[in-house]
């Protein structure tokens, strides 16, 4: 890919990023930050490529740590986001009254 193509992709992607985040309710700031946080774990692909083609011991070590870090970022990031969002089974505005169907009944005895 030529540099100019890459820069074109970069600029367009930047606009997409600005565009998709529009007027988010404050309640969702944290889960959304956590989700985008998980997505940048995609850099792990770089680690896979580095280790996949590596031929020097230190490169292995650095690359392996990078992969492990990336995997923590991805797996942990998505799972934590999922747990957080699992708490929002009901809607934030009193629009609808879904029956509470969550398994974690908590201390509402």
């Amino acid at each position: 890919m030529s540099l100019m193509t890459e820069i074109t992709i970069f600029v367009l992607a930047a606009f997409v990023g600005f565009e998709v985040i529009s007027k988010v309710p404050t309640t969702l700031h944290t889960p959304l930050m956590s989700q985008t946080n998980a997505i940048h774990g995609i850099v792990m692909l770089g680690g896979l490529i580095v280790v996949g083609y590596a031929n020097d011991p230190l490169e292995y070590v650095i690359g392996a740590i990078a992969i492990a870090f990336g995997a923590i970022n991805i797996v942990g990031g998505f799972m934590v986001t999922d747990r957080m969002l699992g708490m929002f089974t009901r809607k934030p505005k009193p629009k609808a009254d879904e029956p509470p169907d969550s398994a974690d009944g908590g201390g509402s005895s």
Binding site: M1, I9, F10, A13, A14, V16, G17, F18, I21, V24, T26, T27, L28, H29, T30, M33, Q35, T36, N37, A38, I39, H40, G41, I42, V43, M44, L45, G47, L48, I49, V50, G52, Y53, A54, N55, D56, I62, I65, A66, I67, A68, G70, A71, I72, N73, I74, G76, G77, F78, M79, V80, R83, M84, L85, M87, F88, R90, K91, G106, G107
Partner: protein
């Protein structure tokens, strides 16, 4: 099973990467609406799966033992950490995940640099410069996030830590990092690995020094900003590695993270520049000594129970203290007891109560508090003068009237829950110690305020029992 083999940069792998980042975009878009957020997160996770599998199928990828070993170890840590983490500790968890992401970027940049060196040829600048950029930003993000984690976890004091001449040191470090990068770029026929390592270390120090002086109350915004940084660093690594998935996903995280950061800062009525460079909470630390001896009204659980049981309306204002004490279930039980007696109980949620936006909503939802009872600040403030009792549970800075009344206060202008307008205020708090911003709260000394010095969970349970006995 025979592995399908995809050519790096070929049509098939690129097409799969396009599928992956499309799923990311859909996932983020859905994440902005409460009803679709959970599904959006799953969609993004599927996209990540596609991207990872595609990469593993690239032609020539080998060293499977190391690859899978690292993948499994990292994934296992991620699973265990995210299952075990308490809801209250989510903020620092996100900081930590963000940190390791940044660390991964920096390490990849280093490994890639070594790889280029080992080829023994001149490193093209369109590979070297993005590589250096991702090394610098990744390193800053890794160490900055670790400091943010330390502050939220209480390993490092939450109050701003100031070093004399900090801005100057930071500026010098930044200039040094840029100069070293320029030297590497000029000598791109045989750049020194030691200079590269020096760049990594100087960036690390910069990351530490930039985050240390920032008060804990601002950490959510800082983590969000570092999140955007890591995204950009990943995009930059994508340029260096010629990988379209990294470029698109990293850039989207960078730009959406930037917007998110700005929105969070707006919710706190502060500018990002002010948060980063003003050393929040530094000034009033000096004046703290003079205000120590003011009288406060102290009550016990029984008094508090009586005040609330005979009120018409009670507004509960939760804060980080409730999170720390894991008091949400006791608070719910106490509210149930009050409601049995016909008291109207609502919850006032400040946008940044706790350590992160939405922190309180998550905790109270966990305790099965109906969502309709969680009132946002704009909604509840006009109700405050008609409220009989405002019960503050472990919240501090978000109720501090100094934000409205004292233009010199470091939190001046921050929107607050106007509990001082309520007929009576009861504050459950372990001590008079200042909140995360490190500033004193005049509310505690007001005439209509009573302090109930106890752990939030214990206090809520005691009040519930007393109400029952009335």
């Amino acid at each position: 099973m025979p592995l399908a083999v995809l050519a790096p940069g070929g049509a098939a792998s690129t097409a799969l990467y396009i599928v992956a980042f499309s799923l990311f975009i859909i996932g983020i878009k859905r994440g902005t609406h409460p009803t679709t957020a959970k599904q959006g997160n799953l969609i993004a996770a599927v996209g990540m799966g596609v991207a990872v599998i595609t990469t593993l199928l690239l032609d020539g990828i080998g060293n499977w033992g190391v690859l899978f070993g690292a993948l499994i170890v990292g994934s296992a840590i991620g699973v265990v950490a995210s299952v075990r983490v308490q809801m209250t500790d989510m903020p620092q968890m996100v900081a930590l995940y963000n940190g390791v992401g940044g660390g991964a970027v920096a390490l990849i940049a280093w490994a890639e640099f070594r790889h280029e060196l080992s080829l023994g040829e001149t490193i093209p600048l369109d590979l070297l410069i993005p590589g250096l950029l991702s090394a610098v930003v990744g390193s800053v993000s890794f160490w900055g996030s670790n400091i943010a984690f330390g502050k939220l976890q209480g390993i490092i004091p939450g109050q701003p830590i100031k070093v004399f001449g900090q801005q100057v040191i930071n500026a010098l470090l930044l200039v040094g990092v840029i100069a070293a990068c320029v030297i590497l770029a000029i000598n791109n026929d045989a750049p020194s690995e030691w200079v590269f390592i020096g760049v990594l270390i100087a960036s690390a120090i910069l990351g530490v020094l930039v985050v240390l002086p920032i008060g804990g109350a601002d950490m959510p915004v800082v983590i969000s900003l570092l999140n955007a940084f890591t995204g950009l660093a990943a995009a930059s690594a994508g340029f260096a590695l010629d990988n379209v998935a990294l470029i698109v996903a990293g850039t989207i995280v960078g730009s959406s993270g930037t917007i998110l950061t700005l929105e969070m800062a707006t919710a706190m009525n502060r500018s990002v520049g002010h948060i980063l460079f003003a050393g929040f909470g530094g000034a009033p630390a000096a004046s703290q000594g003079s205000t120590e001896e003011r009288p406060v009204t102290s009550v016990n659980a029984q008094d508090a129970a009586i005040k609330m049981a005979y009120a018409d309306s009670v507004v509960i204002v939760p804060g980080y203290g409730m999170a720390v004490a894991q008091a949400q279930h006791s608070v719910k039980e106490m509210a149930d007891e009050l409601e049995k007696r016909g008291v109207t109980v609502d919850y006032a949620i400040h946008p940044v109560a706790g350590r992160m936006p939405g922190h309180m909503n998550v905790l109270l939802a966990e305790a099965d508090v109906p969502y309709e009872k969680l009132k946002e600040m704009e909604e509840i403030n006009p109700e405050m003068p008609r409220t009989d009792v405002a019960l503050i549970i472990g919240a501090n800075d978000v109720t501090n009237p100094a934000a409205k009344n004292d233009p010199d206060s470091p939190i001046a202008g921050m929107p607050i829950i106007e509990v001082d307008q309520a007929q009576q205020v009861i504050v459950i708090k372990r001590s008079l110690s200042p909140g995360f911003a490190g500033i004193d709260n005049d509310l505690f000394y007001a005439e209509n305020t009573s302090m109930l010095f106890d752990d939030a969970k214990q206090a809520a349970a005691d009040i519930a029992a007393e109400v029952q006995n009335l």
